[in-house]
């Protein structure tokens, strides 16, 4: 606990931050615009565009000042430890977020569908419904709207998804290889490793885009395809969004490495992104097993 810098007793407290007020204003514009947009008000789109621009600009400025402080030598081991603990806690909260969607998947498969299929055959609304997974539900009228059961082909595990698994697992190796390079002060290895990781991330995203296109155009698998469609697209979609964020973060780290940032002793920025990337990797393994395979 009592690290060296703590004995000297000075912890870096940034003097002021106007980003967060602006960032919050951007978030307000973005989200209220989203609500208006979903409820068919024309102004919504423009509020969203304005909001997202402010949000991106503020994130950029915020991160820039953190990078400058880091390169300016303002952070000691003490601050570094705070960042590490903060990142771990943040990733834990992300795990909890995915837990909600995995929980929904398991609940629907193990509890909800068998129950829908187990009503007394004489009185059931859902005649002939077996509840076998993959399922788009028994169909019927709910809230006054008729839902015709979607006809779809489930996504097979051993095509594109298996390639995607390979891509992500390889990218986990390359980012670790880059880390070894950084620790040995081998900048070339660091930069090549990061570059390969970024490429693999982009390749994954392209494969997933192809998979989605295929699902929508040829397999009848859409967001509206009952429980299977909903859990499939929400789980893989949120994961894909996290891969996108991770890839953007990796690109930033790659550019910083090319500029000569990070030392063998001080590189939280690199490690935070690497941890995030491994987290995304692990979530994918869960997806591959429970969404695609089983």
């Amino acid at each position: 606990m009592a690290s060296h810098s703590q004995k000297s007793g000075h912890y870096f407290v940034p003097s002021s931050a106007s980003y967060s007020v602006m960032l919050s204003a951007g978030v307000l514009s973005l989200l209220s615009g989203f609500v208006f947009n979903m409820n068919n008000f024309a102004a919504g789109k423009w509020m969203m565009i304005f909001g997202i621009s402010v949000v991106l600009a503020m994130i950029f400025k915020w991160m820039a000042s953190v990078v400058n402080e880091s390169e300016g030598g303002m952070y000691t081991k003490w601050e570094d430890k705070s960042f590490r603990m903060g990142m771990i806690t943040f990733i834990a909260s992300e795990v909890a977020f995915f837990t909600a969607f995995f929980g929904a998947l398991f609940f629907i498969r193990i509890i909800a569908l068998p129950e829908l299929a187990s009503f007394d055959p004489e009185f059931t609304l859902y005649k002939g419904f077996t509840g076998a997974w993959p399922s788009a539900g028994p169909g019927g009228v709910v809230l006054g709207k008729t839902y015709e059961v979607a006809k779809f082909t489930p996504m097979a595990a051993w095509g594109l998804p298996a390639i995607n698994t390979l891509l992500l697992l390889t990218s986990g190796v390359t980012v670790t290889w880059a880390h070894w390079g950084l620790l040995k002060n081998n900048r070339k290895q660091l930069i090549i490793g990061l570059f390969l990781t970024v490429l693999l991330g982009i390749a994954f995203l392209i494969c997933q885009a192809m998979e989605y296109h295929h699902a929508y155009t040829e397999m009848g698998l859409t967001l509206g395809a009952g429980a299977y469609g909903a859990t499939f697209f929400m789980l893989t979609g949120f994961h894909g969004f996290h891969v996108l964020l991770g890839t953007l973060m990796l690109i930033v780290i790659l550019l910083r490495s090319i500029k000569g940032h990070f030392t063998a002793a001080n590189h939280f920025g690199f490690e935070g992104v690497a941890w995030y990337w491994h987290f995304v990797d692990v979530v994918w393994l869960g997806l591959f097993v429970f969404v695609y395979w089983l």
Partner: protein, 530 residues
């Protein structure tokens, strides 16, 4: 280089002045103050909403408002009180007091701290905006679903539900950011020698709260995201025709919702022993037992969620499991209660306002806890469920356990924060008015609930009229007496008798070693704890 200059400036900056600094501050005390002020404002906003409800319920029949508007009011009242009044108050105290209590120079992540606060006005705007828009004929007002947003009602609801969903997202982000900060601060910023088992109980309570928030808030975010896609993007998470299940929403919601109860209470359980210690002039009784009980309650709170919908239909083994696990929470909670009582036992007691609130809190919160045991009973719950008995129960736990606890904390720490003593006479008057009118409001609700009056209905059968009239009168007295609280705080902030550094004769802990008010940068040199 400008960065260098900015960094140089930081090393020497003193207490900044002016309005602008409130928007940009990274100081834990400034941010704590903003949290507390925000909480106080939203406490009155949520209070006014529920006074509208009580006015409607004063007599049977529909007097003042349409049922839809009534539903919007109760839903927004709960969301505002829980997310915008109670949680920010606890976070405000965490910001103010945890660094002082553990001897830290500031919170560990000051910018994150600042953003965590500034997300709250965004969320409050999202909650209140639909009401204002409805005045101009846009949309149909707030979410008319109650704070639980149960599907399928919330899938059918109007634009207000969308606003509520995003408000919950933002409140969630804010709480997770705050929690990350508390966890990192406690693990990384303690003064040398301040081991975990020497740490003040308030920090312990908050540490467990922070872990619960990190574990459960994202699940709620996931649940309302599914709600959003069910509403607008054609998914079938909560729709049996597509293979989904409305009960799934209840599981996800209460997986968050039950720990949320303890998220609101654990910080209060943390500082309450410190208040009892101060005014009993006796050391904290059973420190270790209390720490382990807090941890046990935190863990148990994650595995009991389904007792909130025992009547929704579940297999018998599941019912039994949720009944027994829920009841087992009363074991560590009883340990806490006996520790609090033992702390007062044979103490040299004085009854300043914080102590009055603390003792009233133990008694009334005890009623809340015991009525919870009744509700956990599967067989009995069939009668109590969704009745006013539940409303009375959770106001005994959340109004007393949460709000009155926070009030005890406000009176306890206000002299330390402002450097002035508050008006003791007004404080005592505020306590007695609050305690009496609270019971006048909620005690009758146990009776009407037992007799079968359902929650969330703007009209009721004639036989409930007297009790409801009493309840409404109590609610208005309760609401009005909070103006004393407001006045006392403002008067105290503006001036009054100077507070000493220690403020209270029996006060123990690092925060009382600093001046009142503490210097802008509290521990630039960390103290060493023996």
């Amino acid at each position: 280089m400008s960065t260098k200059a900015a960094i140089h400036h930081d090393e020497h900056h003193d207490h900044p002045k002016g309005m602008k600094h409130w928007f940009t501050t990274t100081n834990h005390k400034d941010i704590g103050t903003m949290y507390l002020i925000f909480s106080l404002i939203m406490f009155f906003v949520g209070g006014i909403m529920i006074l509208g409800v009580r006015a409607e319920l004063f007599q049977p029949g529909l007097q003042l408002m349409k049922p839809e508007f009534y539903n919007q009011l109760i839903g927004s009242h709960a969301l505002i009180m829980i997310f915008a009044a109670l949680m920010p108050a606890a976070t405000g105290f965490a910001n103010w007091m945890i660094p002082l209590q553990i001897g830290a120079p500031d919170m560990a992540l000051p910018r994150i701290n600042n953003w965590g606060f500034w997300l709250l006005p965004v969320a409050a705007t999202l909650l209140i905006l639909p009401f204002i828009l409805a005045l101009f004929g846009v949309g149909d007002g707030g979410a008319a679903t109650g704070w639980t947003l149960y599907a399928p009602l919330s899938v059918q609801g109007g634009m207000g539900v969308d606003f509520a969903i995003f408000a919950i997202h933002i409140l969630g982000v804010s709480s997770v950011l705050g929690s990350i900060n508390v966890i990192v601060t406690i693990f990384n910023m303690r003064a040398p020698g301040m081991t975990l088992m020497k740490m003040p109980l308030f920090a312990w309570g908050w540490l467990i709260t922070a872990f619960l928030l990190v574990a459960t808030i994202p699940v709620l975010a996931g649940a309302v995201t599914m709600l959003l896609t069910d509403r607008h993007f054609g998914t079938h998470f909560f729709d049996a025709a597509g293979g989904g299940d409305p009960i799934l929403f209840q599981h996800l919601f209460w997986f968050f919702g039950h720990p949320e109860v303890y998220i609101l209470l654990l910080p209060v359980w943390g500082f309450m022993p410190q208040i009892l210690q101060t005014f009993s002039r006796k050391p904290i009784f059973g420190y270790k037992a209390q720490v382990f009980s807090l941890i046990a309650i935190g863990i148990l709170s994650l595995v009991v969620w389904a007792h909130h919908f025992l009547t929704a239909g579940m297999p018998v083994p599941a019912l039994l499991y949720f009944m027994y696990s829920t009841m087992s929470i009363s074991l560590p909670l009883a340990v806490l209660f006996f520790c609090w009582i033992a702390n007062i036992w044979k103490g040299a007691l004085t009854f300043e306002t914080p102590m009055l609130f603390a003792i009233g809190w133990i008694i009334l919160f005890g009623i809340g806890g015991l009525t919870g045991l009744v509700l956990a009973d599967v067989a009995a719950d069939a009668q109590y469920h969704h009745s006013y008995f539940v409303v009375a129960h959770f106001h005994y736990t959340l109004f007393v356990g949460g709000i009155m606890g926070i009030m005890a904390g406000v009176y306890y720490w206000l002299p330390k924060m402002t450097g002035h003593m508050y008006n003791e006479k007004l404080g005592k008057l505020h306590f007695w008015l609050t305690a009496i009118s609270f019971n006048l409001t909620f005690l009758p609700q146990f009776f009407v609930g037992l007799a079968g009056m359902p929650r969330r209905i703007p009209d009721y059968a004639l036989q409930f009229a007297e009790f409801n009239a009493i309840s409404s009168v109590g609610a208005f007295i309760l609401g009005l007496s909070q103006l004393l609280f407001l006045y006392n705080i403002i008067a105290c902030a503006r001036g009054g008798k100077k507070a000493t550094d220690k403020v209270w004769e029996g006060a123990e802990g690092l925060e009382w070693t600093l001046s009142s008010p503490p210097p802008y940068h509290s521990f630039s040199k960390q103290p060493t704890i023996k």
